[in-house]
Symmetry: D2
Subunit: 142 residues, 4 copies
């Protein structure tokens, strides 16, 4: 059975994540999204530090997010990273944060570009990664 494209990472909300408004500071969801993407890529066999040693880096090209509800201190949220498209030099992710009731807190899209670590210029995704991404089946198809 192929790996599914339905990856999520549970994340506990700590005091460091919150602000004086009593909720998670809006920039911190971008940390969660990046953690989930990193773990998804790791689940395919790619670690960021090893990539950097091979002169490969991943940088965010654009984001488009809606904040619907606030995560609260002490709760555990599930952070999803799903590849919804790719090109030779980039990946499109659909991402969301859900609470334990399945309510969506934040959702949106993140475009990640593959670049040379030293110059920052675009480069093609590693072929092994492209092959892994091609091998992912949609959860609905399983």
């Amino acid at each position: 059975m192929p790996e599914t494209n339905d990856f999520f990472l549970p994340i506990r909300i700590y005091i460091e994540d919150t602000d004086a408004g009593g909720i998670v500071f809006y920039a911190n969801y971008l940390k969660y999204f990046e953690r989930a993407r990193t773990e998804f890529i790791r689940s395919l066999g790619f670690e960021l530090r090893a990539c950097m040693s091979d002169n490969i880096n991943f940088v965010v090209h654009s984001i488009d997010l809606k904040y619907l509800r606030s995560a609260k201190l002490d709760e555990v949220v599930n952070v999803y990273a799903k590849v919804e498209g790719k090109g030779r030099t980039f990946m499109f992710f659909e991402q969301k944060v859900e609470n334990e009731l399945g309510e969506i807190l934040v959702k949106g899209h993140v475009k990640v570009a593959c670049v040379h670590f030293d110059t920052g210029k675009p480069r093609v995704l590693p072929v092994e990664l492209l092959n892994k991404l091609d091998g992912l089946s949609e959860p609905s198809e399983v």
Copy 2:
């Protein structure tokens, strides 16, 4: 002469802002945008802590950003916050980060909702703030 709607805040890039890729971590630009919005609102006479005491809070509803170039350690960037629209309960900001050469590093739009601090429910913007926003002239009109 009216205040212009062309606010920017110079921000120095510190080591805390960077990541192992040698560039500013993508979530940190949201901190800069929030600092610039805060200083813009402060320039109109509104401080966040005083607002909270009046049961007013501002939360981000949505963001839409493009990352074009990376800010570098030690440089000073100018972070703009321009109101491009408003409703009874929200403000639309056009925001960008420019380096000292005037190159745009990050740009996009941020919708900020006014909520009750205690419940998180939407509320109308303070009338004094609405009046101040109405009084802003476009830079091109000055």
Copy 3:
């Protein structure tokens, strides 16, 4: 068998934790130490948000840390939180970060004071928490 006083939390190092020096930024270890203390307290049955609702907060009074080695991107470190003493209004923690080889990266002591959430003034620790702390056995005694 009693719970032991030998709590640790595994933490993955993400790009958000690192800086342009290629290592974890020194302030971020304080986040890890706080996460480990929070999970330790949670393991005793106390959640921070519930405490705040009861007008209880915990604030750091002093820290004394030595940085011996750097944590690296992608590695998992174990973060320890051990109560080495307590008073009516505070707890002393001995804390350390170890890598997977058991090498100590950062170690030191953190004094945490119990305060009233609303005023910030010192208050006695909840008696249930004191009892739980008294019931902890030293690992060497088990």
Copy 4:
């Protein structure tokens, strides 16, 4: 008249700095201390990015801090960085955060080691920096 060894940096407290307890999160003072040290070193003519290009980095060896009062949202604090000693490979800083009333919020000591950027091994401080530090007069002597 020589430069004095009495450097401070004013820092505005933003929502990003605070936590759900309504005060500045304890790790964030380490960011402020690092910003002040960086600006102090910059005032002597040394920029961190240029140092890294010369294979020089500065890493924190140890910290010892007391938290006396909390900084609040919207206030401006003054963050001091004073060299109180140095060796061939390190600098000792006395640091504090004061509010606008001159009350000390956080104070302590930070030992910073000079290392090779690539290996992380200790190296002697740049001779030009040592000379600059020797040329600093104590404020009380001016």
